[in-house]
């Protein structure tokens, strides 16, 4: 596949979408840069798939705009958008061979026979399935089916690529290799790509930027590192990695209406007398490289992860310990 002449940006502004009484998307605004690998990350029911379907034309917003390369796509039906979508179920047509599946979009564009054959061969080559052209989808493994779905979509050289939970139907081992393939394919094509997932690890490992969504709203947009280091609110802090959350009753001064948030590995254990946070150890889990303690502070329980060195002495359940937290690791987020 030749590189597209120019990667395309996506602007989403003021989008509201309801199905009956359910408000699925609330004032969604996003700006996706040309050539970016972008993720919609959130728990199920957060509206991420609906937003993707809105871009593809399978859902209609009540308000707001979706601009593709500066043009409003609202008047365009799905078949005129040139937005390639890979479905969660892959949606490979069982009555067609792999080659026929990949050729479908090109045939719909009335390309000459020779051109179709050339581009089908090229797309299958790109995903490493040239040898499987004459197979039926049912004869392929899950990972291969997923690659056919990708080949079918990129064969039409879409303006943007939409991936709806593309890894969810694969086993854990396949996921790691397929997500690397997807990343390198996207890099080679330079194609603006949106990746919908509920798995923060998937989003972190392959995406340039992530929009974290919850309950129909975008909570925060940023690179994986930004989101991890500087979560905008408690939801984002909790959703990306684990976070300890304490309120003003814990003993540390906390601004009104805020909560103290810190990551388990940023704190360390000390003697109770020297620390403003202290309490009894309630659980201990040995994880190999680290040891995870649960410490009760007031009504809350926090997790502390300390590196394990052989010979070091472990605390026991019931020990009264202090929790040391460097000030620069303390985050105060709105409750």
């Amino acid at each position: 596949m030749s590189k597209p002449a120019r990667a395309v940006g996506i602007e989403i502004t003021g989008v509201n979408l309801s199905y009956g009484a359910t408000h699925v998307l609330k004032d969604v605004a996003l700006s996706i840069r040309p050539g970016e690998f972008f993720a919609f990350l959130g728990p199920s029911g957060c509206g991420k798939t609906t937003l993707l379907r809105l871009i593809a034309g399978f859902a209609q917003a009540q308000t707001g705009k979706v601009l593709l390369d500066g043009h409003d796509v609202a008047p365009l039906p799905p078949w005129k958008r040139d937005v390639g979508m890979v479905f969660q179920s892959y949606a490979l047509w069982p009555h067609m061979t792999v080659a026929k599946n990949v050729a479908f979009g090109l045939e719909e564009r009335r390309l000459p026979r020779a051109e179709i054959e050339r581009r089908v061969a090229q797309a299958l080559e790109l995903v490493g399935l040239s040898a499987f052209a004459e197979r039926r989808p049912a004869q392929l493994s899950g990972g291969q089916q997923q690659r056919v779905a990708v080949a079918r979509t990129i064969a039409i050289e879409p303006k943007v690529l939409l991936l709806d939970e593309p890894l969810s139907n694969l086993d854990a081992k396949m996921r790691v290799s397929v997500r690397r393939e997807l990343r390198s394919l996207q890099q080679r094509l330079g194609l603006t790509t949106i990746f919908v997932t509920h798995d923060q690890e998937e989003a972190n490992t392959i995406c340039d930027r992530i929009a974290v969504m919850d309950a129909g709203t975008v909570q925060q947009v940023g690179t994986p590192m930004e989101l991890y280091e500087n979560p905008a609110n408690l939801f984002v802090a909790n959703f990306l990695g684990s976070a300890n959350i304490l309120d003003e009753r814990c003993g540390v001064p906390i601004p009104a209406g805020k909560r103290l948030v810190f990551r388990p590995q940023h704190a360390s254990l000390s003697v109770p007398e020297s620390a403003s946070l202290h309490g009894p150890v309630t659980h201990r889990e040995f994880l190999g490289a680290t040891v995870r303690y649960a410490v009760r502070i007031g009504d809350s329980e926090v997790l502390i992860e300390t590196p394990f060195q052989s010979g070091s002495e472990l605390r026991s359940v019931g020990d009264h310990v202090g929790v040391d937290l460097p000030p620069q690791r303390m985050l105060f987020l709105p409750a």
Binding site: P77, V83, S89, H95, G105
Partner: protein, 558 residues
């Protein structure tokens, strides 16, 4: 789950019943077809005679042509309706879906004469066309009449199967196609239709076989050169010793089996089962105003055609004289007083025969279902297969088989067994058994085995468990099976036509057939037809009620 003497005895009794009343008659037909008339050895000479007789060859091809064209026209009616109701927001959808039950309520032969009066050369429609536009359409001319009538009656079989298949396609299948640039009819043709093909073929092959086996409809339209009518005419006019009737019967069975086999072959590997993995129902499209008008026009036209036989039948049943005029000359209740008076024996016989046949079906169907699903008796599957082969045996063939197999068997007082009315009941019961069997399977499959094990654990024997737990829980399903069998038995004709020996033993369908033959009897025949339709419609309604009630009862129990 172990064998008991009672189960073995039950299985043997059913095997004996199926053997005597299904296997033996059919085997007799096949045997006679392959033996020389003079009683010699096995021979193919009868089949050579069949191939050399122009009438039979012509009849064969006529039957093939009529069945195939019926499938074509039924598809023409069913396709747009299936597409409309499954892919668009369309208020008429409910209306279209209820059409699915109409062919069950009235078999095509019942409305044949009425349709002749509505659509024939001098029927209402052509008289009006002639008056207004000066031309006529030969809807009912020769084979076309059979095709027209059968297509109207049987297209819902295709509609129901195709709609179900279309509804079961995962919506991402079509969204993926839209995403890649396809839409509208092209999308339907390239994606939806191929994926729904198994459903379509199932419906189409059913229609083909039903039309191929139908005796009464062509005969009532005065079309004799078709294969099933030829079998009937041959036996009734030349006699039961003439081998040709048997040869034709074997050909009918072969065509039915070949159609089912070809269907299975085409369907192999095509059972895509794409059902809703992506979740959510199909996105139905809103129709534009202009499209909506068109859609309603199509639905109303088809609905008018479907209702035509019913309307015609009612008109005919109240008509004094109806000939060469768009509507009857006058109206009367005389036909109803006549059929409720001296012809009431037909109605009485129908209720008796259908009731007995349906009882036999439910008892045997329930017993087979229990033996297959709940015991480990060796060979229990054979009972199921044997009972299901009745599907491939046309009614006229079964009738001929009974006549031949049981005519030689005399009762002590000298009357041949085949002349007894109970034989008609048995033939009807065998014909309906496969349907009752499916109903029994469905009813039993819904009952968890643990309910029976609990009863046994508390000390109930096998027999008492069946009586106190299984049968009560199956009642709703069995009742539905009973009513459906009863209703369809009430309008069974092709086997009955051969077996009825005297008018006093004849059921309603036979009386209707005889009355419809003469212009003077038509009114009374139509009145019988209306009564038959009412009986069937009420039964269908009761059956639905029974299913609903048992489901609600079970919902409360659990």
């Amino acid at each position: 789950m172990q064998r008991s003497p009672g189960q073995i005895a039950l299985a043997l009794a059913i095997a004996l019943f199926l053997g005597v009343f299904l296997i033996v008659p059919v085997a007799t037909v096949v045997y006679v077809a392959f033996t020389e008339k003079s009683g010699g050895g096995v021979t193919l000479v009868n089949f050579l005679d069949f191939g050399r007789t122009d009438l039979f060859v012509r009849s064969f091809w006529n039957s093939v042509y009529v069945s195939a064209m019926t499938v074509v026209w039924a598809s023409v009616l069913a396709l747009p309706l299936a597409y409309l109701t499954t892919r668009f927001e369309f208020r008429g959808a409910m209306l279209v879906q209820t059409l699915g039950f109409l062919p069950l309520i009235m078999p095509p032969f019942v409305g044949a004469v009425a349709m002749q009066l509505l659509f024939g050369r001098n029927g209402s429609v052509n008289l009006l066309l002639d008056e207004w536009f000066d031309f006529k359409i030969g809807f009912m001319e020769g084979l076309n009449g059979v095709i027209f009538l059968q297509a109207i009656h049987y297209f819902p079989f295709i509609l129901v199967n195709l709609s179900a298949a279309l509804r079961n396609i995962d919506r991402s299948m079509e969204e993926a196609a839209q995403n890649l640039g396809s839409h509208g009819l092209r999308l339907f043709r390239r994606i939806a239709l191929p994926l729904a093909l198994p459903g379509y073929i199932a419906g189409a092959s059913l229609v083909f076989v039903k039309v191929f086996d139908d005796v009464a409809t062509p005969l009532l339209l005065n079309v004799k050169e078709m294969l099933a009518p030829q079998a009937y005419l041959r036996i009734t006019s030349i006699g039961i010793d003439d081998p040709m009737g048997y040869v034709i019967s074997v050909v009918l069975i072969l065509v039915a089996v070949a159609t089912m086999w070809a269907t299975a072959l085409v369907m192999k590997g095509k059972d895509y089962a794409t059902t809703q993995r992506g979740g959510g129902g199909l996105a139905r499209r809103q129709l534009k105003p202009r499209e909506q008008v068109l859609a309603y026009a199509v639905v109303i036209l088809i609905l008018a055609l479907v209702l035509a036989p019913h309307v015609g039948l009612v008109l005919l049943s109240f008509a004094t004289v109806w000939s060469y005029s768009p509507l009857p000359d006058g109206y009367t209740l005389a036909h109803y007083t006549r059929v409720l008076g001296d012809s009431s024996v037909y109605i009485k016989n129908t209720l008796l025969y259908s009731g007995l046949a349906a009882t036999i079906d439910v008892v045997i169907g329930g017993a087979i279902a229990y033996l297959v699903l709940r015991t480990r008796l060796p060979g229990r599957q054979w009972l199921d297969w044997a009972a299901s082969t009745a599907l491939a045996v046309p009614g006229v063939v079964l009738g001929i088989g009974y006549l031949r197999a049981f005519y030689g068997v005399s009762l002590p007082d000298g009357t041949p067994l085949a002349a007894l009315w109970i034989v008609i009941v048995l033939a009807i019961a065998i014909r309906r058994l496969p349907y009752a069997l499916r109903a029994a399977y469905a009813a039993l499959q819904q009952i968890s085995v643990s309910l029976e094990e609990a009863a046994e654990n508390l000390g109930a024997t096998k027999a008492r468990t069946v009586r106190r737990v299984v049968i009560p829980l199956m009642t709703g399903g069995l009742l539905a099976g009973f009513v459906t069998s009863f209703a369809t038995a009430a309008v069974e004709l092709s086997a009955v036509l051969i077996l009825v020996q005297s008018n006093s033993d004849a059921p309603l369908a036979y009386g209707l057939y005889v009355l419809m033959q003469t212009p003077a009897g038509r009114g009374a025949g139509a009145a019988l037809g209306v009564i038959a339709v009412l009986i069937v419609a009420i039964c269908m309604w009761l059956s639905q009620l029974a299913v609903d009630r048992s489901q609600r009862a079970r919902g409360l129990d659990i």
